[in-house]
């Protein structure tokens, strides 16, 4: 099929599935509602794979043509590739919104390497999660939960929205996808709507995202004002040439403002400080939702957006610095909170925050491809961890507090092993996927002008290994203990365990598309910057003006030459840190369980600060919510008393006049007679006086 047709089919297939389930799910499908959505998402995945091959062919053909033109061994600027140039042009589906005389904001799609990477990640994780949900959204007897069809309809809608977000060829359509995934997140967090906490969490997620979108929307408006277009490629070309619409010079302040406004949106969607508050609460949703939306895909939309706008961000050093700093701060901050939590899903949620922080750290130092690489590996192992937690939750009848159970590894072997493998990946153990991607980010940060970001990354890596294995040891090791009311733990069915296994395989091997072999390097074999980076290179080659980007681009061109032996100390150090963290967790939680308690007691207020998540929620309530609410009260009071009071006074004037005049209309004969006499006298006096 043609590229364009495939691109249109990818979002439409899940949408069709979702719409059908929504229309006939309650009446006709019921327990079988998952089939339509599963079919839609799987078909979309196949379309995406086919699209990948087409894009790859296009890139290679274009690359070879260009190479042939310049000479086989000449260094090629990837953005000059003929194939990529063709792909970067977005194609119009139809005219959407008129922005003035003959100026349309269109529904356009753009299919380039970055799109493909996102599509493949999103759709493969989605397929796994939809499969898993078939098992998860049932009780132990195989009966579908209440709202089964609703769940799958929303899930299909989410996949549609996410594909729209990723495929968008302009900022407005990006915004559409951006808001639609927010809606799906709202609907799915609030899936158990009768639980007040779930309803509150859903609302909070939507509103905090809207705060970010406020900035994001203004950023889009400013882009339109500056460049007179919202099309990606036109904007990027103008930024790359430092031009505004009408050939005016583009000021640094303007581009910084644009970048920071866009980043507001990313902070909301990807839950970066200080807009991170919604993500931990979002764990109220069903676990497959947490895995898909709040770990693997939707929350990474902010990373995707910054990577997509790499040209804009790279043009503003201040914006890059802020992105990196916020990323690093979030990574460390969330990791410290994760140390003290006991709810498995919340630990994973803070871990997600922390990992997203890594990605922004990478973006901030200009390692756009490494950040995307981490996004991609993270999707697999984090989805697997969440689904594993869901499997535990399913077996424990909804209990998820790791203080309430332990020693599950015998009863739930598949869950345990997949969880362990993904946990090892998350901890950054060598040769698993996250090891490659995380190290690249830290390496890029250390090599940049802000090396302290890299050191924060390393500290966080240690914390990550520790909190991950704290959770694993507490839940799966030691003697078997079950929460009250659960007779015996049991492994989940095949619908649930198959996706776990597949994702765990992904967690192990997904990283190898990003490494090259045969150049010496780590263990004498592996070298970062592999096929993945090469594939993405044309996307980021325009992001000039930042030293690391240039270095990365050169790295691709030279076959990772500059990552010579001098950088391998970092790989050894980070793997050492990972093992040290795991060892500590093992020692604390299986050998000497008294130590954590002693530390918690000794550190007192610090522990409390971590445990209460730095009191951010309370702070927001005090600083924003209450004053705004008071302001609302004041507005309403102003309506009732001030404005209506003034109206009453205005209305009182005619009323007062009426009151004064009323005396003359009292209806008594004498009064009228008196009036007539007085009148006559006055008239006669006037006539006589003038005569």
């Amino acid at each position: 099929m043609e590229l364009k047709t495939l691109a249109i089919l990818i979002p439409l297939l899940p949408l069709a599935g979702s719409a059908l389930v929504g229309a006939i799910g309650l009446r006709g499908l019921k327990d079988r509602s998952h089939w339509l959505v599963l079919a839609g998402v799987t078909a979309a995945l196949f379309c995406a794979v086919s699209l990948f091959y087409q894009v790859n062919t296009e890139l290679n053909r274009g690359g070879s043509e260009t190479a042939a033109a310049i000479g086989a061994h000449a260094q090629i600027d990837p953005s000059q590739q003929v194939g990529y140039g063709k792909l970067a042009e977005s194609f119009t589906i139809y005219e959407w919104i008129p922005a003035g005389a003959a100026d349309w904001l269109n529904v356009t799609f753009r299919v380039d390497p970055l799109t493909i990477v996102m599509l493949l990640t999103v759709l493969s994780v989605s397929t796994m999660v939809v499969m898993y949900s078939v098992g998860y959204m049932r009780d132990h007897h195989g009966h579908a939960e209440l709202g089964y069809e609703r769940f799958f309809a929303f899930l299909g809608l989410f996949v549609f929205s996410m594909c729209m977000l990723v495929l968008a060829g302009n900022f407005l359509l990006l915004y559409l996808g951006w808001e639609l995934v927010g809606l799906c997140s709202y609907l799915l967090i609030g899936f158990y709507y009768q639980k007040p906490s779930a309803a509150a969490a859903a609302k909070k997620a939507f509103l905090v995202n809207r705060i970010g979108d406020f900035g994001f929307g203004l950023g889009i408006l400013l882009i339109y004002l500056t460049f007179n277009t919202l099309d990606y490629q036109e904007v990027f070309n103008m930024v790359a040439n430092s031009k505004m619409a009408g050939d005016l010079a583009l000021s640094t302040e303007r581009i910084t403002t644009i970048a920071l406004l866009l980043f507001c949106g990313a902070m909301g969607k990807s839950a970066q400080l200080p807009l991170h508050v919604w993500l931990p609460d979002a764990m109220e949703g069903p676990t497959p939702v947490s895995a898909l939306i709040h770990a693997a895909t939707m929350v990474t939309a902010g990373v995707y957006m910054v990577a997509r706008c790499s040209v804009i961000f790279a043009a503003s050093p201040i914006a890059m610095w802020i992105v990196g700093a916020i990323g690093a701060a979030t990574a460390l901050f969330a990791a410290t909170i994760a140390l003290t939590q006991f709810d498995m899903k919340r630990i994973l949620a803070y871990s997600t925050l922390s990992q997203l922080g890594y990605m922004f750290l990478g973006l901030g130092v200009g390692a756009f491809d490494s950040a995307m690489f981490h996004l991609y590996t993270h999707a697999f192992f984090k989805a697997c961890l969440f689904l594993g937690a869901g499997s535990v939750m399913h077996a424990m009848a909804g209990e998820i507090d790791i203080r309430r159970f332990s020693g599950l590894r015998k009863a739930m072997p598949i869950t345990y092993f997949t969880f362990l493998i993904s946990g090892l990946a998350l901890a950054g153990v060598p040769l698993l996927s996250a090891f490659w991607s995380k190290d690249e980010i830290i390496h890029a940060a250390l090599a940049s002008s802000t090396p302290w970001l890299g050191w924060i990354g390393l500290v966080t890596a240690f914390l990550t290994a520790f909190y991950t294995f704290r959770m694993i040891f507490m839940a799966f090791h030691n003697e078997e203990r079950l929460p009250r009311g659960v007779e015996h733990a049991h492994e989940s069915g095949v619908w649930m365990s198959a996706p776990l296994v597949l994702l765990a395989i992904g967690a192990v091997f997904a990283g190898y598309v990003g490494v090259t072999t045969g150049h010496g390097g780590f263990l004498g074999m592996f070298e970062p910057h592999g096929a993945f980076h090469h594939f993405l290179a044309p996307n980021f080659s325009d992001a000039k003006g930042h030293e690391m980007t240039v270095a990365a681009a050169q790295g691709v061109a030279h076959g990772a030459g500059e990552h010579g032996s001098e950088s391998h100390w970092l790989m050894w150090l980070s793997s050492g840190l990972a093992f040290y963290g795991i060892f500590n967790a093992w020692y604390f939680y299986t050998r000497r369980p008294g130590i954590p308690l002693a530390i918690a007691l000794a550190s007192g207020s610090v522990y409390k600060l971590f445990y209460h998540k730095y009191y951010v929620d309370e702070l927001y309530d005090l600083v924003f919510v209450r004053p705004l609410r008071r302001l609302g009260d004041m507005c309403y009071a102003c309506d009732r008393f001030v404005i209506n009071g003034i109206l009453w006074i205005i209305a009182a004037i005619p009323r007062a006049i009426g009151f004064l005049l009323r005396g003359w209309q009292q209806g008594a004969m004498q009064g009228y007679a008196l009036g007539m006499v007085v009148g006559l006298v006055v008239i006669m006096w006037w006539v006589l006086a003038n005569a």
Partner: protein, 598 residues
């Protein structure tokens, strides 16, 4: 298409549009022997016939491709209404539609049958009078949008008050009489000032010989209210006159809209009105105010509009934020939706006064969208009220459990109302913000009087809108089930969840929301040329001529002496155009400071 327009009825489609519902009202009122069920069905039938005529009118309109491309009006009907022997009074019955009025007529004609259908169970007393008044209101509304003569416009405009006054006063809630009186007196007081402005314009038109060739059969010195004549009056009005007239029109329209701080009648009227009354009030009658600004104030008083735009826009922005905050703390769901109207209509006016093609299109589209989504929200609130006889958030909650279909529609229209992309609200909201944001940018169609900061403050309305609407959705739908002790009242033939009739009412609205959100082109293609031709070209003409030029230059000189003016000169074709627009920027600069300080 000749089969449609070549016969007598085809040439009088617009008259039929007005006459059919009014005749229907008279018939219903006269036939005292009809029983209630038949009355309902008859009223519904009449409104559907009106809808069919509207569709025919739309087809005839779309057939006039030149009218669509040039933005002019079509389906013209003209007759002398009030005249004198010496031709010194020339008041016409003149109807026509263009791309501005056609969408609004569609909205009114589409919503009224649904509002009537929605009254089938909720209205149980004096049904004959009720449906007669609804149809009367219907005819008057359509008349406002079709009128091309200012006096005729005014007559219809005022006439809408009467049926609604009775609808609120008779079938309303416990405080209905207070609400009806306040609504009636407040809006009437405002529009009397408007009437003074109307008379002044007519007198002025007779005073200045109508040099414009628009009405060729017009004797010199005749008192006329023909809009085509009045549109050409602007060069003959000095700036003082324009401002005076603008304020006179403003008094009537701003109260109708309602613009902050003239909005206090609205929550009361909405809360007390019967459901259908609220629907029509919010969806159509408020639009009479915005339509008035768009149709009369802007094109007839361009200079005053530009000069006063920053002030009106400031009120609009305050209204957006104020209405949203006030909505948030309401405990009565209907009052919450009513305050949301205050906030939304602020967007409407903002888009209008930014004087950019995008903003104007957005504003007009906003009128339609607000009608659809807020109308639907009022219908849903009414459906809840019919079952539980309360709208207090404290008394109901968790209804999604018992009423999943209602929950779906409430969430759907909530999303439409808070501007979720893909639904209708987003398109108009985005266009309004885009127009406002780029207002002082001379590209591509000239600089308007507003600027970036208005849009920034208005955009906070998007966030606040989400806050109060989700607050409501959460309270009504989510959480543990909470209902008044007696449970749902199903005595009137209702079921626990929505009946087929109720679903049938909401589905067309939902489909329209999706259609406009996904493919707004079908409406904007109609609106944009008309807005360009009938509004933008008259306010910001690219070629200035006549007396305006002198005025403009004088003001420009004054402006240049103003040291606070920090606007950069931008290269633009038509140097004079830029100069004239500068007059507004000084006021705007000061206002930016005010808004910024807030």
């Amino acid at each position: 298409m000749t089969w449609l327009t070549d016969n007598f009825l085809g040439q009088h489609l617009l008259s039929m549009l007005i006459i059919v519902p009014i005749l229907g009202a008279i018939v219903i009122y006269a036939r005292s022997s009809w029983d209630a069920v038949f009355v309902r069905r008859f009223a519904m039938g009449v409104s559907l016939v009106t809808l069919i005529i509207t569709v025919l009118a739309l087809m005839a309109y779309l057939h006039q491709s030149d009218a669509i491309q040039n933005g002019g009006y079509t389906l013209l009907e003209q007759a002398n209404w009030i005249g004198s022997a010496d031709a010194s009074i020339h008041i016409q019955y003149k109807l026509a539609v263009d791309g501005i009025s056609m969408p609004l007529i569609l909205l009114a004609a589409g919503l009224t049958p649904l509002a009537i259908w929605g009254s089938f169970t909720s209205i149980q007393t004096r049904q004959r009078e009720y449906y007669a008044l609804m149809l009367l209101l219907h005819g008057a509304m359509l008349g406002v949008f079709a009128a091309r003569d200012l006096l005729l416009f005014y007559v219809f405009f005022e006439f809408t008050l009467i049926p609604l006054y009775f609808l609120i006063g008779i079938w309303g809630g416990p405080q209905r009489q207070k609400a009806a009186n306040m609504f009636f007196i407040y809006t009437l007081a405002g529009s009397l000032l408007t009437f003074a402005g109307v008379l002044y314009l007519g007198w002025k038109a007779s005073w200045i010989a109508p040099t414009a060739g628009a009405a060729s059969n017009l004797a010199a010195g005749a008192l006329t209210f023909d809009l085509d004549v009045l549109y050409n009056l602007a060069p003959h009005l000095c700036s003082g006159e324009q401002i005076g007239l603008f304020i006179a029109f403003f008094a009537g329209f701003a109260i109708k809209v309602p613009l902050f701080p003239f909005h206090t009648w609205l929550p009361l009227a909405h809360v007390e009105a019967p459901t259908a009354g609220s629907v029509i009030l919010a969806a159509v009658l408020l639009k009479l105010g915005t339509y008035g600004f768009l149709r009369l104030s802007l094109p007839m008083l361009p200079q005053a509009s530009i000069e006063l735009a920053p002030y009106v826009a400031t009120l609009a922005v305050i209204g957006i934020i104020y209405g949203a905050l006030a909505a948030w703390i309401q405990t009565d769901v209907k009052k919450l939706v009513a305050y949301s109207s205050v906030s939304h209509l602020g967007f409407c006016l903002l888009g209008m006064f930014c004087l950019k093609a995008a903003g104007l299109t957005g504003s007009l589209l906003y009128m339609i969208n607000h009608g659809l989504s807020t109308g639907a929200l009022f219908l849903i609130v009414g459906m809840i009220y019919e079952r539980y006889h309360t709208r207090e958030l404290a008394e109901i909650g968790g209804l999604a459990k018992k009423m999943p279909i209602l929950a779906f529609f409430l969430i759907f229209f909530t999303m439409s109302s808070i501007g979720l992309p893909g639904l209708n609200g987003f398109v108009s909201e985005f266009l309004v913000l885009l127009g406002t944001f780029t207002s002082d940018d001379p590209k591509p169609d000239g600089a308007g009087p507003l600027g970036v900061w208005y849009a920034v403050f208005a955009a906070s309305g998007i966030l606040l809108g989400a806050i109060y609407m989700l607050h409501m959705a959460r309270g009504v739908l989510f959480g543990p089930l909470k209902e008044p002790g007696h449970g749902a009242d199903t005595s009137a033939g209702l079921t626990q969840d929505l009946t087929r009739r109720e679903v049938g009412i909401l589905v067309p609205l939902a489909l329209a929301c999706v259609a406009i959100g996904v493919y707004p082109k079908m409406l904007t293609n109609m609106m944009q040329p008309a807005l360009d031709h009938a509004v933008l070209a008259k306010v910001l003409p690219h070629d200035w001529s006549g007396d305006r030029n002198v005025d403009a230059t004088t003001i420009q000189n004054q402006t240049n002496q103003n040291p606070t003016s920090r606007k950069r000169q931008r290269p633009v074709d038509g140097e004079r155009t830029v100069q004239t627009r500068k007059q507004a920027t000084a006021t705007q600069t000061t206002l930016n400071h005010i808004v910024g300080a807030r």
